[in-house]
């Protein structure tokens, strides 16, 4: 991959996260590396069990037990977060790297008003007085497009719609002007018109504030207009990473191609059958000495069943973990 012109705001190197469960060791993240330049937006795309969410939680030290980050580095402006003592993490989370989730209800306290939760966070992180924190909360809610913001501060989370709750989460995430916003499927539970509103909002805020965005999703369509680069994950690994236009126009991994082909076209002719990827993703308690996608891959040859392909450059800032990337048709 070509090095970004500026030094990256976030750099993940060789990250390995495992869960030690009753049924064995689950290899959720199997050595992934990527960089995020200042102001850049990168999508981590994968299906269930691909490790995309664990990869994001690993960045913030939020992997729940029995999981833990076992190897690798997470460098924020060159400083390895994995070496930080617990107290120092509190300064990173929310202030320098903020995260929003699929279901805001699980992150908001149901018995406290929206205003109370916002002002407490602002007072803690920004050392504001009560009145200043309240004024800032109203400004933030207005900034994320919540009408009648001063009154909404007195509402409890359940009184807001799903879209408004996600806007509140975004307002809280932005309050400290973080360098990186991590968004874990923030629109998956929303209706399609509300999803479009939230995507538009994040695009606009990113342009205004210049923050970098790491957007986790299962949906290649949602991020097509939102990010600069896309990394596709399979079985805990990045199998392809490329600038957005190149990834959709000429995928260099058969799994990426399969994902794109299994979505029906929304414009133009409707084909009679969808191209599906046969089989199912592998069990992550296994370790792989060969390509994890080979059993489902239409291009697989002997080598694919014998040797694990590394992520290798395919030119133009792209890379693919496929022995046969040159044979992948667009």
């Amino acid at each position: 991959m070509s090095a970004p012109a500026e030094s990256p705001v976030l750099e993940v190197r060789g990250l390995i996260t495992r869960f030690h469960t009753d049924r064995g060791v689950v290899n959720a993240v199997n050595g992934i590396s990527y960089t995020l330049a200042p102001g850049e937006a990168l999508a981590l795309v994968g299906e269930s069990g691909s490790g995309k969410t664990v990869a994001a939680l690993s960045v913030l030290g939020l992997v729940p037990p029995p999981g833990s980050v076992e190897e690798g580095e997470v460098l924020l402006h060159g400083e390895n977060l994995l070496d930080l003592p617990d107290r120092a993490w509190r300064d990173v989370r929310g202030r320098r790297v903020a995260m929003i989730f699929q279901d805001p209800l699980t992150s908001l306290n149901p018995v406290l008003t929206v205003g109370r939760q916002m002002t407490e966070m602002l007072r803690h992180h920004l050392d504001l007085g009560r009145d200043a924190a309240e004024r800032r909360s109203v400004e933030l809610l207005e900034r994320v497009g919540i009408p009648d913001a001063a009154r909404r501060l007195r509402d409890y989370p359940h009184q807001l719609s799903g879209g408004q709750r996600q806007r509140v989460m975004i307002a809280m995430a932005l309050s400290c002007e973080p360098d990186v916003l991590i968004a874990d499927e923030p629109t998956t539970a929303l209706d399609v018109t509300v999803q479009a509103q939230i995507v538009d909002l994040v695009k606009e805020l990113r342009a205004d504030l210049g923050m970098a965005v790491l957007w986790i999703t299962h949906d290649l369509a949602v991020v097509a207009g939102l990010v600069d680069r896309v990394a596709v994950m399979y079985a805990g690994r990045i199998v392809e990473i490329a600038p957005v236009a190149r990834l959709y126009a000429s995928p260099r991994h058969p799994y990426t191609r399969g994902l794109l082909r299994s979505m029906p076209a929304f414009r133009g002719s409707t084909g009679s059958r969808l191209e599906s990827i046969e089989g199912a993703p592998p069990d992550l308690t296994l370790t792989f000495a060969s390509c994890p996608f080979a059993p489902r891959c239409p291009l697989a040859e002997d080598r694919c069943h014998e040797e694990l392909p590394p992520l290798q450059s395919t030119g133009a800032g792209s890379a693919s973990a496929c022995w046969r990337w040159g044979s992948v048709e667009p």
Partner: protein, 333 residues
């Protein structure tokens, strides 16, 4: 799928389903959620009718009311000429064999303590179809038909992946040889690569068995792929209904247009041209807006829309009537 299905299999007239809102010690009714508020449409034998809408549109309630899993508040549903509300218990049970449902979450709809064989066989037992050996043979056939091995018979639901569980749900729904299947968000919980497998299976089954589907989904891309005709719902009403091409290529209702504009497309160039999102959110079906229910969010709304509920009218249509409920809908640009 079939060229011009003519025979009406399911006829729906002015269907309403209101859920009472009760408050206080006496549980007095203080209002009603107008989940479905006056639907009229036909489903033709052999066709797939897509039913789309956002949360609160009433699309799931519609599917349930068609199968009489909920009792409609008003209106009629006729299946192959029989008005369902006038049927006695025994006659309704016989009709039920012909109407089945596939659910969104196959795991929640499969009894975890029953083997796959028993789950698929249960409807045959209930409806007393065939003898014991015949039922066993039928289970094997069904499992094979949906792409599962016979070995699946003696295993339990938790041993299967989401896509395989949906295959089990489909085998069960097919066991009584239904003519009509309501698929309620049947692929929404599945991964993209698995969705395509299940959609292909549903289409193959329709072709082979001449099935009629009501395909309820919020994913417009998949609805466009699978449907012959499409109905768009908003707050308990059908606002637009027409052939797939009329609705997707020549939408008339401003809500349909906004909905289609909001669909993300896996193509960065197309995404760059996507118009800004429709503002606002769907209001509560317990307190729908006056006049046209879409008027608070509608870019075309006038005073007329705030006061007068628009009738459904025919507005052309290429192969079949194209119906729209809007005062201002014009011919597509």
């Amino acid at each position: 799928m079939t060229d011009t299905p003519e025979r009406v299999l399911v006829q729906v007239r002015d269907l309403k389903k209101h859920f009472p809102i009760r408050r206080g010690v006496l549980r007095r009714q203080v209002g009603a959620v107008q989940a479905v508020d006056g639907l009229t449409f036909d489903i033709h034998e052999g066709e797939t009718l897509g039913l789309v809408g956002e949360s609160g549109s009433g699309k799931s309630t519609t599917g349930r009311a068609l199968l009489r899993l909920v009792r409609p508040t008003a209106g009629s549903v006729a299946f192959d000429g029989d008005e369902l509300s006038s049927l006695g218990a025994e006659a309704l049970r016989a009709r039920r064999r012909e109407m089945q449902m596939i659910f969104q979450d196959p795991y929640a709809s499969l009894n975890p303590r029953m083997t796959i064989g028993a789950i698929v066989r249960e409807p045959l037992d209930i409806h007393e179809i065939g003898d014991a050996a015949g039922r066993d043979r039928r289970v094997d056939e069904l499992l094979e038909r949906v792409g599962l091995s016979r070995a699946a018979r003696d295993r339990y639901p938790h041993e299967f992946s989401g896509g395989q569980r949906q295959r089990i749900g489909i085998a069960r729904a097919l066991s009584t040889e239904p003519r009509f299947i309501v698929a309620d968000e049947a692929i929404s919980a599945l991964d993209v690569s698995i969705q395509a497998q299940i959609v292909n299976l549903l289409q193959d089954l329709a072709d082979e068995l001449g099935l009629t589907y009501l395909f309820i989904a919020h994913d417009l891309t998949m609805v466009r792929h699978i449907s012959d005709r499409v109905a768009v719902m908003y707050l308990g009403r059908i606002v637009e209904l027409g052939t797939r091409d009329d609705v997707f290529e020549r939408p008339l209702h401003p809500y349909t247009r906004a909905l289609l504009d909001a669909v993300p497309i896996p193509d960065p160039t197309a995404e760059a041209r996507r118009p800004p999102a429709l503002g606002g959110e769907v209001p509560s079906p317990a307190d729908p807006p006056s006049g046209c229910r879409f008027h608070p969010r509608c870019p075309l709304a006038t005073d007329l829309c705030r006061t007068k509920d628009p009738h459904t009218r025919e507005a052309g249509g290429t192969a079949r009537p194209h119906r729209v409920a809007c005062h201002h809908a014009t011919q597509p640009e």
